[in-house]
Symmetry: none
Subunit: 225 residues, 2 copies
DNA sequence: CGTAATTTTAAGCAAATTTTAAGCTTCCCC
DNA sequence: GGGGAAGCTTAAAATTTGCTTAAAATTACG
């Protein structure tokens, strides 16, 4: 997760950068509106934190320009002003949330997380480790090379990845992927797990689908316990 | 390219629809703000044309709501008012451009093209491999020899090339190229894919349209992964 | 108004996908 | 170690999907 902070006071900017890097964010800083806007337009950030009162170009103007360029990145405003009018102005300019100075770092963190969660919900791409899938275009990538799947194979993989780090029982899989709601003694899941494993292995993804005997299957995010 | 016109005067709306369809746009019309907003939020348009003065919900409010929903679609305002204040208001609400009534159709067309070009920067040189198409003159070239396509064939090819390296699903194709929004079991896409393939193959472009079974089609830029 | 071009529909055929079924392997418990 | 259950693999049958063609319907144009 990569953030850009546009803030002219070096003290506040540094404090935020340190704190956020401790939370494993990658943080860039711009000390005025103009260079901030340039950075925001050139790079792909997951979120912008913009102070209202900054030199060269006001925070609100930066916000407007970013939106005008068609960039939907979440924007969080820092403001000392707290009249209703100012907040409305900020949100109308395209900001997603605001926080009043002085603020608790914990509150800022919470609001950042809310925005990033919202972002992920709207996001088209799901992933697990090296593997990423796009439900909109029905494409699967292992790193940069594409894996061609049939529709059923794709649906099964999508379900497993949407529920990664959770065990998917056979009955849930048969319900959600095959839309079968009564018990049946089909072995179609086994067959498709075999198909998927073969294609994923061939593409270099390894055997990321684990069997939970007697229950179902699970895809784990590598590096999580 | 799919447009939505929100305009309460049937005369103007019809005039615009006819003219734009001659330019091979797929055009929807809404006659008041509320139904226009619904359409804009439900469907995926490439551009909205909104009159300022419309019943049920003002154009500016529609604009604001669309932006609030995080939709960055280019918006072009039609307005009889022309004071600086009104224009500023419109642009602040999230519009990208405006045009004063009465206007020349040619000027409207030019402004639409500007917005669509901004949308994907490399607009003037739409190409995939040896194939290049010109949306303005409706010409297709394979190297230096021209390929003559019918309007529907052209629209389909244009859509595929605008979305090159992405899978175009059957439902998206039927929506954007045929402007059909309900499910139907037509096989018209298959037929046109066959037409296109035959003409492209004959012109020496090879078979650049790949089938993604169960999903749709894709044109890949050669040399990309 | 009639002809030509374009678009759509429909049907047969081919190919890929999905399902079924059977034999084989692995794991677990006794 | 043996028996049985669960899962894996493979091959073939059943089904679905897409391709192609021809003809019908619609539209454009002189």
């Amino acid at each position: 997760m990569r953030l850009l902070i546009i803030e002219d006071e070096p003290g506040i900017a540094g404090f935020l950068k340190d704190g956020l890097e401790e939370e494993y964010f990658a943080v860039d800083i711009a000390y005025d509106g103009k260079s901030g806007l340039d950075l925001a337009l050139i790079n792909e950030y997951d979120l912008l934190i913009i102070d209202w009162m900054i030199p060269a170009l006001s925070g609100i103007e930066v916000c407007r320009q970013v939106r005008k360029a068609g960039n939907p990145v979440p924007i969080l405003f820092l403001t000392a002003k707290d009249t209703v009018e100012d907040v409305v102005f900020g949100l109308e300019a395209g900001a997603n949330d605001y926080i009043k100075k002085p603020f608790e770092f914990e509150e800022l963190l919470a609001r950042i997380r809310v925005q990033l969660r919202n972002k992920n919900q709207n996001d088209d791409s799901l992933s697990a480790g090296i593997l990423s899938i796009n439900p909109v275009t029905h494409q699967v990538f292992c790193g940069s090379n594409e894996i061609i799947l049939t529709p059923k194979e794709f649906a099964l993989l999508e379900y497993l990845i949407r529920n990664k780090d959770r065990v998917c029982t056979r009955s849930r899989i048969i319900e959600h992927v095959w839309d079968i709601h009564f018990d049946s003694d089909t072995s179609v899941i086994d067959v498709y797990i075999t198909f998927l494993r073969r294609k994923l292995e061939a593409a270099g993804a390894g055997n990321i689908i684990q069997t939970i005997r007697g229950v179902g299957y699970i895809i784990r995010e590598p590096g999580m316990s």
